[in-house]
């Protein structure tokens, strides 16, 4: 029997309603997820991303009418075919892309050489003809991921013209945002599959709980909150050189230039120092912990984009008026605070939140992909060795900034997005590389791979697939938390 696909809403499909799942269900019951192959991830992702292609406003029709279901099915078939073609053409294009990225780096050859030596097993001649994927893995020991590279994809300049679907979505957002009392549930639903950049700043302020849903109260709230923040600065910032705050300030001070060091935008020490210092002394249980500095970045970029037409990346912040800069700073502070409220145990003594989540990730992976899990065991790879950073920096060190921003659209629309859903995203992220993982046959190759996952070309599409898979995992385990406990 055909199930209604009213998953064209967001979050996407209820996996229990998709045909695939029904088919696998009996198996899944006996052996939770064990029979899952990587292919079903793609199947599911394709289904869901197709579902997303249909306008939100058509939702009701699908659930109620069987004729439209047939239309949907043919649409799905067409979209799937298109997707396959697209993927094929991409497969051919990607190597060139990677090549281009590499040729931008003057020290490239040297780096490849030395790390091929480091891999114990390859001659330098061979290194030169390796596939792009391998080349990316062998980039320097700490590849500085160009955080904002290609962020122009999401900016007005250089972005492709909007499709009808995008226009409709934007219209829907505008409606919601301009209504007297924004329906937050509806806004979350719309935001789950990504927020259009035009409305992202205001949407993020609402989703984070910083801005009230009531239209009339917004302006005043913003004004009050911004004043409050600058009140904190007046009250506390001078204490940074006092003995009991010295350590905190010293650490922040040395970390700011090391936050996205290659992007001039972030060489604005004062703004970031103030945000982090004020947050730290108002949260003594955790204080400032490295990694928190990364978490300001997406907010800063998103709120900045409200005032900047061209590429945010190359923008000179000093061109902005004091007032605008102060607004961006205060808004970034408050939204970061809201985010951190949910994950503070990541940063308190002994970092229990992270230890717990790394453990949970291990248990989850042992359930959903025994092969990968056993592969790690065989080569004595511990999850803590690679996943600590995934949790501590919310995958920001593993993904380009544009992807983090897209990821946060969803995290802010999902209940406990940063604290809980992130675990499933990490699991999906790990499994995404299962083939590459299983291809590595020693400890060293595995660690090098896991520390340098080649996501440099990733964009919205990859994050969309990742989130769909994470959502599916969450659904599988949400009602049975013991499933991932051995």
């Amino acid at each position: 029997s055909i199930q209604p696909v009213y998953g064209a809403q967001h979050p996407p499909l209820d996996p229990r309603l998709t045909k695939n799942f029904i088919k696998d269900r009996s198996k899944a019951h006996a052996l939770p997820m064990k029979s899952k192959k990587a292919s079903s991830f793609h199947e599911f992702a394709r289904n869901t991303s197709d579902a997303w292609d249909i306008g939100d406003d058509e939702d009701e029709d699908f659930s109620s009418s069987s004729s439209s279901l047939q239309t949907l099915n043919s649409k799905v078939a067409k979209a799937t075919a298109a997707q396959v073609l697209e993927n094929h053409s991409k497969l051919r294009v990607k190597p060139e892309r990677a090549q281009a990225v590499l040729s931008d780096m003057p020290t490239n050859c040297k780096v490849i050489k030395s790390s091929s030596e480091a891999q114990l097993s390859r001659t330098s001649e061979e290194a030169c003809v390796r596939t792009p994927l391998q080349k990316q893995q062998s980039l320097p020991l700490r590849p500085v991921i160009p955080l904002v590279a290609r962020i122009s994809d999401q900016n007005a300049s250089g972005a492709p013209p909007m499709t009808v679907r995008e226009k409709t979505r934007l219209e829907k957002f505008r409606q919601l945002l301009s209504s007297h009392n924004t329906e937050l549930d509806e806004l979350r639903k719309c935001s789950w599959p990504g927020v259009p950049r035009e409305v992202r700043p205001v949407t993020w302020r609402l989703l984070s709980g910083y801005l009230p849903a009531n239209m009339e109260r917004r302006k005043l709230t913003l004004q009050r909150k911004r004043e409050e923040y600058f009140g904190f600065i007046q009250q506390y910032y001078d204490s940074r050189n006092e003995e009991h705050h010295q350590d905190t300030y010293r650490q922040i001070h040395i970390d700011i230039p090391r936050t996205n060091p290659l992007i001039p935008l972030f060489q604005q020490p004062l703004i970031f120092e103030r945000i982090l210092f004020i947050w730290a002394i108002r949260h003594p249980a955790s204080g400032y912990v490295q990694g928190i500095n990364d978490l300001v970045t997406p907010f800063f970029v998103v709120f900045l984009s409200e005032y900047v037409e061209e590429d945010v990346e190359n923008f000179d912040v000093t061109n902005l008026s004091q007032d605008v800069l102060r607004s961006i700073e205060a808004d970034s502070f408050w939204c970061m605070s809201k985010l951190l409220d949910g994950i503070q145990d990541n940063y308190t003594f002994a970092q229990p939140g992270i230890q717990k989540k790394v453990k949970a990730l291990e248990e989850l992976v042992s359930r959903i992909d025994e092969q990968v899990h056993n592969h790690f065991r065989k080569y004595e790879v511990e999850y803590l060795q690679f996943a600590f950073r995934w949790m501590n920096n919310l995958l920001m060190r593993e993904l380009p900034l544009r992807c983090t921003i897209r990821l946060w659209d969803t995290y802010q629309s999902e209940p406990e997005g940063f604290s809980h859903f992130h675990l499933y995203v990490c699991a999906a992220f790990l499994i995404k590389w299962r083939k590459e993982i299983l291809d590595e046959e020693d400890f060293q190759g595995l660690l090098m791979l896991l520390q340098n996952l080649p996501t440099i070309h990733w964009g919205n599409e990859e994050i969309g697939l990742l989130l769909a898979e994470a959502y599916r995992l969450k659904y599988m385990f949400a009602d049975a938390p013991n499933h991932y406990r051995r």
Binding site: T107, R122, T123, V289
Partner: protein
Amino acid sequence: AVTADGAGAAPRGSPEASLDPDHLYNVLFVGDSHVGKTSFLYRLHADTFNPHLTATVGLDYQVKNLVVDNKRFALRLWDSAGQERYHSITKQFFRKADGVVLMYDITSEYSFSDVRYWLSCIQEGAEDGVAILLLGNKTDCAAERQVPAKEGERLAKEHQLMFYECSAASGHNVSESMVSLIRLLKDCEDELKNKAREVPKPPQKKGCCW
């Protein structure tokens, strides 16, 4: 008798080539934040200075192969985060280290005074007989020096540590100190083996994998 890197490296998968190094050691880098642990490793790895490194979070890993005294050595180098909040994570890795590189910054008195704290961590967490190298980094910043070389030497002597001053920025003493560390690690291993021979029930050789 020192050759940098893969003198005997052969293509992956070639069956006759013995790719295994003669000796493999786990080495953990510790020390305060911003003393230059990652920069040192970057210099060792790429033979250049990278001023644009981000702060380490958790642990980073890389391998360095060196031929010393006609033997092939592989060092598994673990770079840790210096900030105090991360110490509980770092401590979980002390136990498995064959060697520890404890680094301070010669332009920071503060980082030098924390060396004692780090030594107590090592004592508490690492196996007895672990090889320890004390490194005073940033000799290129001579004008800002706060810790005289004599102080470093004195501390090293007091605790029986191997000691070098070095500079990740200029490359000064980077491979030299690593070669000495390798010889020290080798001595420690030999000593352990000898001890094992004396004891009727030999303790298992320390694991090379973690």
